[in-house]
């Protein structure tokens, strides 16, 4: 009972202490609220705008030869999306220098061969693979020649009084049966747990270091240890503040992501059209995922606390903690990869298991057995890490390292 009261006293004091620290506020509030949505949607919007611009641009293209096929040349000159520039004999070189985006070689006597139903020889496209504008130009050219070929085929069929669909006995069509929220879920399913995991770590990092190594550095560790507070109550109070920071940061991130989703997609919708489908994210699964991530926050907080109590100074703590950041993010990234799915081994992998279960939940499939197991294992890992942190607080060689 006395310990609980002390935990509460320590918790309230440390919370005030942290909330008065500008650096802590930046890591807890500014990062999730501003940086994350900006990163996600800023990058998304930017690439969208750039793509749109590239699409609307007139790409410079060279036509090599083809002087004896004026009909084709005329049609190419009138095409939307490309501008034909005169060939000066170094067309391929200019594609390579990206002076023009693509070149197309029309074989000699192309039109005549088509008319006479002889083999025309091959039309060759020269592109710079990997360059978006080059592939856009090539796409325009490819589309043009495909249509030209279809026209020729159709004309030849009608000339012979054959049905136009002779060469197309059946068609194949794909229809999406997944409801919109599942489409969004699988598109964002890997990413959202990843972001929450990332922010659980970054949110816990600063307070964990400040409340342990920072306290040593500022000389208040000896003050607090000389008070009658039990070491257990002291660690638990500090630990709960770190968990609070971690959860608050993740919560703010989810909130700001939600807002950004609505605004971001309503913006894109005006241009893209398929925004509506993307907007449909099941809010309930978001809440469920968030709750599942609380033990992860507990795990990170304990690990960070144990690592940084060992350090003598804030700087030293940072060098211990940054590898942990990588360790936490790697499994979260692995879970976003397609094909990485939950199995009986991965169920035990810390962080990865949570990320994978979250991914499933985002597309609305709830495997309660797996969810329960993952929740339990993560809580177990968190408890172990906390036990280590508490033990370290009882070691004077750790507290008075000099």
């Amino acid at each position: 009972m006395r310990v609980l009261r002390q935990v509460r006293v320590v918790y309230l004091k440390e919370l005030i202490d942290i909330l008065r620290d500008r650096r802590a506020l930046i890591s807890m509030i500014v990062v999730p609220l501003v940086v994350i949505p900006l990163l996600m949607f800023g990058l998304g919007a930017l690439s969208f705008v750039v793509m749109e611009q590239a699409r609307q641009e007139q790409h410079r293209v060279i036509v090599i030869d083809g002087e004896d096929s004026p009909g084709v040349l005329d049609k190419l000159g009138a095409l939307q999306g490309i501008t034909v520039v005169p060939d000066s004999g170094d067309a391929i070189d200019r594609v390579l220098r990206r002076d023009v985006r693509a070149a197309v070689r029309i074989p000699d006597g192309f039109e005549a061969a088509v008319e006479e139903e002889r083999s025309t020889g091959e039309v060759t496209l020269y592109t710079f693979e990997g360059d978006v504008k080059s592939s856009l130009a090539a796409q325009v050219l490819r589309e043009f020649f495909r249509e030209l070929r279809d026209d020729v085929v159709e004309r030849r069929l009608t000339d012979r009084d054959l049905a136009a669909d002779l060469l197309e006995p059946f068609t194949v069509e794909t229809r999406n049966v997944a409801p919109p929220e599942k489409v969004t879920g699988s598109a964002l399913g890997g990413v959202i747990p990843y972001i929450i995991i990332l922010l659980c770590v970054t949110g816990a990092m600063y307070p964990a270091m400040d409340l342990t190594a920072g306290e040593k550095e500022r000389g208040t560790m000896e003050t607090i240890l000389s008070s009658p507070v039990s070491r257990l109550a002291l660690v638990l109070g500090k630990y709960l503040v770190v968990v609070t920071a971690s959860v608050a940061t993740a919560l703010l991130a989810v909130g700001s992501l939600g807002v950004a989703l609505v605004f971001g997609f309503s913006l894109l919708e005006n241009g893209a059209g398929d925004g509506e489908a993307l907007l449909a994210l099941d809010p309930l699964s978001l809440v469920a995922v968030f709750f599942l991530l609380i033990p992860v926050a507990c795990l990170f907080s304990a690990a960070l606390l144990a690592l940084s109590v060992f350090a003598r100074s804030f700087k030293e703590a940072q060098t211990y903690v940054s590898p942990l950041l990588l360790l936490a993010i790697l499994p979260a990234i692995a879970a976003t990869l397609p094909g990485v799915e939950l199995n009986s081994t991965l169920l035990w992998a810390p962080v990865l298991n949570i990320a994978l279960v979250s991914k499933e939940m985002m597309i609305g499939s709830y495997d309660w057995g797996a969810i329960g197991l993952v929740f339990a294992t993560t809580s177990l890992y968190a408890a172990l890490a906390l036990a280590v942190a508490v033990r370290l607080f009882y070691r004077e060689s750790v507290l008075f390292r000099s």
Binding site: Q6, V9, E222, T223, S226, E396
Partner: protein
């Protein structure tokens, strides 16, 4: 009442190997008395006092504060001790008042009781004017007053001061010494370490000289003067320390 019998503290350290910071130290201090622990830098004063404040566990020997053993009842000991040292800084982001009240709460005080005690302390230490300022923004002297208020909030029977005047200007140092004297007048047991002989001469009832972790001599000032044929504590101290160096 503080009783120390044969406490030792060893650290193992990569550079020095096993290192005896405090070696078989014994002394006692009654209520209403001031015991001064004299020694140079690294003599073992701080380690001894840290063991009394239960921050460190003795490797060997026993020490008790008001009848409570430092090793087996550390929390009871801490509840009866006010500990002030160069290493006990203030929480810079708390106000002076919050700092003192935080420690009051950890001592189990609350509500009107806590407010009354804090009021009295700030009044007494003439610290009312800056009680709502953040500790980071206080001068060294103000900080020392807040630290004193922090050690006194639970009205402990035993006070432990580790070099309480180091880094303070003359006036503030005087005020701190006056305050230590006041503790004695109120019947508290005071243990006080310093390397400034004049402070010890002015304040202490009993003095122990510690050198390289060992208590080389102790007694009242008069006893020490007589034993070493000197009338000045500094001379006594130098004699004791150089004798040890030769031996």
């Amino acid at each position: 009442m503080v009783e120390v019998s044969g406490i030792s503290k060893s650290f193992s350290d990569r550079k020095r190997g096993l290192f005896h910071a405090v070696d078989d130290v014994s002394f006692r201090c009654e209520e209403g008395r001031i015991y001064g622990l004299l020694g140079g830098n690294g003599a073992g004063k701080t380690t001894t006092l840290r063991m009394l404040a239960t921050l460190l566990k003795p490797t060997r020997g026993r020490a008790s504060v008001d009848g409570f053993d430092v090793a087996s009842a550390p929390e009871a000991v801490r509840a009866r001790v006010g500990f002030l040292s160069g290493g006990t800084a203030l929480y810079g982001r708390l106000t002076a008042r919050e700092m003192v009240e935080y420690f009051g709460r950890l001592h189990g005080l609350r509500g009107a009781d806590l407010a009354r005690r804090a009021d009295a302390l700030f009044e007494n230490l003439e610290a009312r004017d800056f009680q709502d300022r953040r500790c980071d923004n206080l001068s060294t002297g103000m900080k020392q007053k807040v630290s004193i208020a922090r050690t006194l909030i639970h009205d402990p029977p035993v006070m432990i001061f580790d070099e309480p005047t180091s880094g303070l200007d003359v006036l503030t140092a005087r005020a701190v010494l006056g305050f230590i004297r006041e503790c004695r007048e109120r019947g508290k047991t005071v243990i006080f370490s310093t390397h400034i002989m004049r402070e010890a001469e002015k304040l202490c009832d009993n003095v122990g000289v510690i050198h390289r972790g060992r208590l080389v001599d102790e007694g009242s000032l008069a006893e020490l003067y007589e034993r070493h044929g000197e009338s000045d504590l500094e001379e006594v101290f130098v004699k004791l320390v150089t004798r040890e160096e030769v031996a």
